[in-house]
Amino acid sequence: MPVSRSDDAGAVTRARWVVAFLIGLATVTAAGFGWRAAQIGSTAAYDDRQSISETVTVEQQSVSRAVTVASQAREYVRYRADYAVAATLDREADRLAAAGAGRFAAVSRGEATALRQGATRRAAQAGVFGPFSIDTDLLTPTVAPRPFDYRAQARALAAQTATALDSPASLDPDHWADAAAHIRVRIRHLTRWAFLAVLAVLLYTIAEVSLPRRLAYAAVGFGVVLYLAGLVGGLSTAFF
């Protein structure tokens, strides 16, 4: 079918309008991806702050536990030293009793008992054996010293902190850090998908200024493919 010159000019004008529209669309898409990247970037910054804040809380609790356990360990060693002296007094009492010095033996034994009583009370009040109440078995001295495991004490203190009424909700600073890092990966992806859209703009521009129609169509075609790849990739992997 013969095509008149004015029809040809009209087709070129329409094609130019289409390309201009495509350029605008790609530019708006790239800008949209940039906007989204900035938006989730502020979420990442929030996650960073949460991660740091929870790290501070976790480490504060850790220091507090360490200081408490160290103080208990100090008290426990005093308790054991008192028990060691009490055991020596008992042996002295045995020797005195065996030698027929019963009254002296009673003094030594009484001293040993009082020492154990005092040591147990002091250690219990310091929380070495766990929670202290006014009347408890913890205040009754045992013949052999009670054991003390600093790891178990630390675990018990951690449990106490975690279950206290004023305890912070479950702390997981690593989770927040991972979330922030993940968002930044999305931001990187978004910028790369946006770059594809901008590349499409370059191809559309080539089409806009090209005289050979074949080159113009090829540039538009390739640009559309790049743009769609960027759009679909960005929306499906990083935008939402």
């Binding site: 991660s51 200081v67 160290a70 054991r80 002296f104 990187r188 770059f195 590349l199």
Partner: protein, 539 residues
């Protein structure tokens, strides 16, 4: 509107239309449009790099802060446990003072007339001491210290990486700003016509190329990062240095440098470990027994390399200054100590070394000025092991000057006397009378080092009330070498009338003293100096 005006307007409109058509037909125009699009693409690429740098900076900043908090926790916990060790030991040490373990206290058995077998109390004491546990604190303390070191070093490494990412992000932003200028010029060329179009276009392309080249150059610059293996090895090396296992520490620093050949902390740590390995008593007595030799040369090389890699590292120039002072290179020592002081002028140790260097150079005025600075820095403090160590270190420096530069010995002695008088007043907590007491005498007898112990008898008689008595012990680790003043060998007391002190202290040394010396001061005035024999040189 009049006709002529209408004609003029029509004519202008025709000219503008012609101009626009000519402009649109300009063959340069499509190139300009393409260039503009290419610059926009380049800008997008730069934006990607900037976003990456910014994201890395944010991630590293978060990690740096978190690790800093963890390092603080680790240091507090480590110090708490380390502080527990002597407390637990003190409970064992207190047992011999409790009944019935105190051999000097009245015993119920003897009151009852029951005989005790010989050595029974000692046996009981041993059993009791074994019953007092250390709860694993002694083992735990070094592990916690290493962990604290590791986290501190990790935090420093992360901070360096973070700063670099921050710089990188800012650099890319600057390049983008420059590129914006290029885009403006090329865009301007698109809408104007005539000769200005070509000029604007050329200038825009030139600025765009400049921005692209700049971006490539920035991109190729490395981002510093320290591998975990290097940090772990350096942390263990620091811990072993603290424990006195210097050779093992050097091996660990070697491993750290194998993992990262540009790790400044490992170089300065190895320099210190090498120095201490060559001078094994330095940490305790401040004795430099190997001022020269391959090990010291290697230590200085390491310190200089650390200084190149991290110009803000204060330890490295201090090491160079110290070793240069001890092997007599006072100019190098002065340069290095001035560099260290420039980094942190609030460290009295540096001023004291500078003062000693100035004495050796024959510059007493500068020496006094440096000493004044050091004293100003410790004023307001209370007497402590730290202040004693500062004084003993300075006295050891001055003794070295007396040995190396006899011509400067009078100045060195004057400064030593000044420091002893100041330290005596500082330690005893009151000002000293300006002169030695008008009456009384002091003597040192039976001074010797034998069987690993320093023994002497210090006697005084007829001294006025409130006399400040200072005794400072020196030892000579090398035959005919310089004296050194260990911080532990010091006595400060307020005495009156007559009295005596039998001194018998163990000295555990690798380089055993070949001679010992005691300087006695009354009211801060040097009154007596006695020397005694030591043992055969072991270094």
């Amino acid at each position: 509107m009049s006709e002529p005006d209408d004609e003029t307007t029509a004519s202008d409109g025709a000219q503008t239309a012609e101009h626009d058509t000519a402009s649109e037909r300009d063959p340069l125009r499509p190139k300009i449009a393409l260039t503009l699009a290419a610059l926009v693409v380049l800008g997008s690429g730069l934006a990607i790099l900037q976003v990456d740098a910014s994201a890395n900076e944010s991630n590293t900043a978060r990690q740096t802060t978190r690790v800093a908090v963890q390092a603080m926790r680790a240091n507090v916990v480590s110090d708490t446990v380390a502080g527990l060790v002597p407390v637990l030991q003190s409970e064992r040490d207190f047992l011999p003072f409790r009944r019935p373990l105190d051999p000097n206290a009245p015993s119920l058995a003897s009151a009852a007339g029951v005989p005790s077998p010989a050595g029974a109390t000692a046996d009981e004491l041993r059993v009791a001491q074994q019953a007092v546990p250390d709860l694993g604190a002694r083992k735990l303390a070094p592990r916690l210290e290493t962990e604290a070191q590791r986290l501190t070093l990790t935090q420093r490494a992360l901070a360096t990486t973070r700063i670099t990412w921050n710089d990188r992000s800012t650099q890319y932003t600057t390049v983008i700003a420059v590129l914006a200028v290029a885009i403006f010029l090329v865009g301007f060329a698109l809408v104007v016509a005539g000769p200005i179009r070509g000029s604007a276009y050329t200038l825009g392309v030139a600025v765009g190329i400049f921005a692209a080249v700049w971006a490539v150059w920035i991109h190729h610059l490395p981002i510093p990062s320290t591998p975990d293996s290097a940090i772990d090895a350096a942390a263990s090396g620091a811990e072993l240095t603290q424990e006195g296992d210097y050779r093992a520490a050097v091996s660990l620093y070697d491993a750290a440098l194998e993992a990262d050949s540009g790790y400044a902390t490992a170089y300065s740590g190895r320099a210190r470990a090498r120095l201490l390995a060559a001078n094994p008593d330095y940490a305790v007595t401040r004795a430099v027994t190997a001022p020269k030799g391959a090990a010291v040369a290697e230590a200085i090389r390491d310190a200089e390399r650390a200084r190149e890699l991290n110009p803000r590292d204060i330890l490295s120039p201090a090491i160079v200054a110290l070793m240069s002072f001890y092997h007599g290179d006072v100019d190098e020592a002065l340069n290095a100590i001035d560099a260290a002081i420039a980094l942190n002028p609030k460290v009295p140790d540096l001023w004291l070394l500078k003062s000693a260097i100035e004495v050796e150079r024959g510059a007493p005025v500068d020496a006094r000025a440096a000493l004044k600075q050091a004293l100003a820095l410790v004023s307001g403090q209370t007497p402590s092991q730290r202040t004693r160590l500062l004084a003993s270190t300075y006295l050891s420096y001055l003794a070295q000057v007396e040995h190396d530069a006899p011509a400067q010995a009078p100045t060195a002695r004057r400064l030593a006397d000044q420091v002893v008088a100041t330290e005596t007043a500082f330690t005893l907590g009151h000002a000293l009378p300006p002169r030695r007491p008008a009456r009384g005498a002091v003597s040192v007898q039976r001074l010797r080092y034998a069987d690993g112990r320093l023994r002497l008898l210090l006697r005084w008689r007829n001294l006025p009330a409130g006399t400040a008595l200072t005794g400072l012990g020196y030892e000579r680790p090398l035959e005919h070498g310089a004296w050194t003043q260990p911080s532990a060998l010091a006595l400060f007391a307020t005495v009156s009338g007559s009295g005596r002190r039998d001194i018998d202290v163990p000295l555990q040394r690798v380089c055993k003293p070949t001679g010992v010396r005691v300087d006695v001061y009354l009211n801060g005035v040097r009154t007596l100096t006695r020397t005694g024999p030591g043992v055969q040189a072991t270094c």
